[in-house]
Amino acid sequence: MERYVAGDAAAFDELYRRVAPRLFGYLLRLTRNRERAEDLLQITFVKVHRARGSYLTGAPLLPWVLAIARRSFLDERRSARLRTEDLSDDGTLPEPVEERDEVPVELASALEQALDGLPEQYREAIQLTKVSGLSLQQAALVLGTSVTAVKLRVHRGYVSLRQRLERFQRAGR
């Protein structure tokens, strides 16, 4: 990040390579819509680019970027609530996301489905701590809550995940 702030374009490539997959995964988990996640990814990186002069040396980069992304997501969701329903290109209402009924074969797919089915708070907490690799303290900062609250959300999300995975396993037999 320091080299990027100093104007090194190659440093941005390295920063992007390290941050973008986890950031995109987080946004995809929040939005459950690939297009919106990609839009938010662009918005986040533009904000990072504009704010690079305000980056204080030594700040952990991933929580810094994730916090910007989360705020962008919340701002976009707030303004979307004020807008009328967006139409798709052919003028029809967008199709609602359907619940997937097929039984996933692999654990990774099952886990993916189960994660997507969790309430947003639990989903976000697990995504940040288990998939993006943040510590509990860092996740608490990104979410704007306490470490205790994050622990509880992760715990409850885990309980729910295990129940869903057990159902997948039973259905698969």
Binding site: A59, P60, V131, L152
Partner: protein, 239 residues
């Protein structure tokens, strides 16, 4: 209760740990290309202020506001003992403000220690300042304050608000865009610095030593700017 205890102790069988967590997906190549183009086009070193510079500038702004009020008041007669006491108080609270800046703003976000410490400062320092005002003030009946003191209290309060706004907004501007993690808390700390600067500066200029006046016109300003800072922090301290 046992669920909370389990969560806090981490004492649950974690069959999912080390397991098949999904790989993070990647954005499409055209999205990556677009982002890269925007973020590296004509890239130059960003204009940047170090944390140390921002700290020095914040302290200089506070000192300047204090000095202006002190010089304005030099024309008004004040008992020498009262002025000396006010200056000693200003020195003490000035040191407290340096600590607030160091704890709350100078260290990079994510390395500022427990949030509870900063929230503790936000809750505790205004209360401590009000207690200090109660301690140095001269007690007078409330009725007497209402009948004879409200005019001066209003003037003093408005002056404190004006100089508090200059300092708080100045400190917020100096630290703009630096904290996406806890902008409200950091903003509230900036407001605390602005409010306290104004309150202690007004304290050296003010002719009244009456308790109700000190608490309402000087002390309440600190609380007001903590709130203003929290609102401003969300707007300006987050990128």
């Amino acid at each position: 209760m046992s669920e909370r205890r389990d969560a806090l102790d981490g004492d649950w069988p974690d069959t999912l740990d080390g397991g098949a967590w999904p790989e993070p997906p990647r954005p499409r190549d055209e999205v990556t290309a677009r982002i890269r183009e925007v973020c590296t086009r004509d890239i130059a070193p960003a204009r940047r202020l170090s944390a140390r510079f921002r700290l020095v500038a914040s302290l200089a702004l506070s000192a300047a506001v204090f000095l202006v009020l002190f010089l304005l008041s030099s024309a008004w007669a004040k008992p020498e003992g009262a002025l000396r006491a006010a200056l000693f108080g200003a020195a003490g609270w000035g040191a407290v403000m340096v600590v607030v800046l160091l704890v709350g703003l100078v260290r990079p976000p994510g390395r500022r220690g427990p949030l509870s410490l900063r929230v503790g400062l936000l809750l505790g320092l205004p209360v401590a300042f009000l207690v200090y005002q109660l301690g140095i003030g001269v007690a007078a009946p409330w009725g007497e304050f209402v009948t004879t003191g409200t005019g001066h209290a209003l003037t003093c309060g408005l002056g404190a608000m004006l100089f508090g706004a200059i300092t708080s907004l100045g400190v917020l501007w100096l630290w703009r865009g630096t904290d996406p993690l806890t902008p409200r808390v950091s903003g509230a700390l900036a407001g605390l610095v602005g409010g306290m600067t104004s309150a202690i500066a007004i304290g050296t200029a003010c002719r009244s030593g009456e308790t109700h006046h000190l608490c309402l016109s000087h002390g309440a300003v600190v609380v007001a700017f903590v709130v203003v800072g929290a609102l401003g922090g969300k707007r300006w301290l987050a990128p």
